[in-house]
């Protein structure tokens, strides 16, 4: 189980945007999502904050055999882009960019600010979240997109 509240509290001070299933939950989706997906800013100081924030949770590549020479440090983040990780607080996907949406700076104008479990965090806006999922073109997202569009219609009709 992913402890969303504890993970978000750990990430306080890190520049990131909630995307994916967690963002859908924030907008009112009733679908089960297993992990926290975030797009993080790739500036060196933010990467440092991200590494320090998650270090106590022992991040490790999700589904990988144990014993890999994986080191959770700034070099690992700089050397990669997207990371699917298991931590002691649950699963988290750290995304440098997303298909159809781009990087942190590209998504920033399309965010809303949430106060969640005592943390101020940015979340991708509903319309942009739908557009990103549509652009990604993954068959597994079709039902989720349909639900998000229904949420958009319900909100517009309020």
């Amino acid at each position: 189980m992913t402890d969303f509240s504890a993970l978000l509290q750990r990430l306080a001070g890190v520049k990131f945007i909630l995307v994916g299933g967690a963002a859908a939950t924030a907008h009112g989706s009733a679908r089960l999502t297993a992990d926290l997906d975030i797009v993080y800013e790739r500036m060196p100081d933010n990467i440092g904050r991200l590494v320090a924030a998650l270090e106590p949770c022992k991040p490790y590549p999700r589904g990988a055999p144990s014993g890999l020479p994986f080191r959770w440090d700034e070099g690992a983040i700089r050397g990669g882009l997207n990371f699917t990780l298991a931590t002691t607080l649950g699963d988290i996907d750290l995304l440098g960019e997303i298909a159809g949406g781009g990087a942190y700076q590209d998504l920033l104008p399309h965010t809303i600010t949430l106060s969640l479990f005592g943390v101020q965090c940015l979340c991708l806006g509903l319309e942009r979240l739908i557009q990103v999922k549509r652009a990604a073109g993954r068959p597994k997202d079709l039902e989720g997109i349909a639900e998000l569009e229904a949420i958009l219609e319900e909100k517009a009709g309020e």
Binding site: D3, S5, A26, A30, L114, L142, I145, A146, E147, E149
Partner: protein, 63 residues
């Protein structure tokens, strides 16, 4: 009754087919919750899901 309004983009016919099966009463209930309550509900659902999986594994184990 559905409260449909035009989307800000061209509807996708495939997504429109999926949309027919979306439970809008469930959406309306979720929209009444705060964002924090939506996450608390998600975590409760995850716990239930885990418990079902545990029970399933236990039932498959030979006696």
């Amino acid at each position: 009754m559905d409260r449909k309004t035009p989307l800000p983009w061209e509807p996708d016919p495939v997504i429109e087919v999926y949309k027919k099966d979306i439970d809008r009463t469930l959406i309306r209930e979720h929209l009444k919750l705060t964002v924090e309550q939506r996450f608390e509900k998600l975590m409760a659902l995850q716990r239930f899901h885990e418990e079902l999986r545990r029970a399933g594994r236990s039932a498959r184990r030979p006696a």
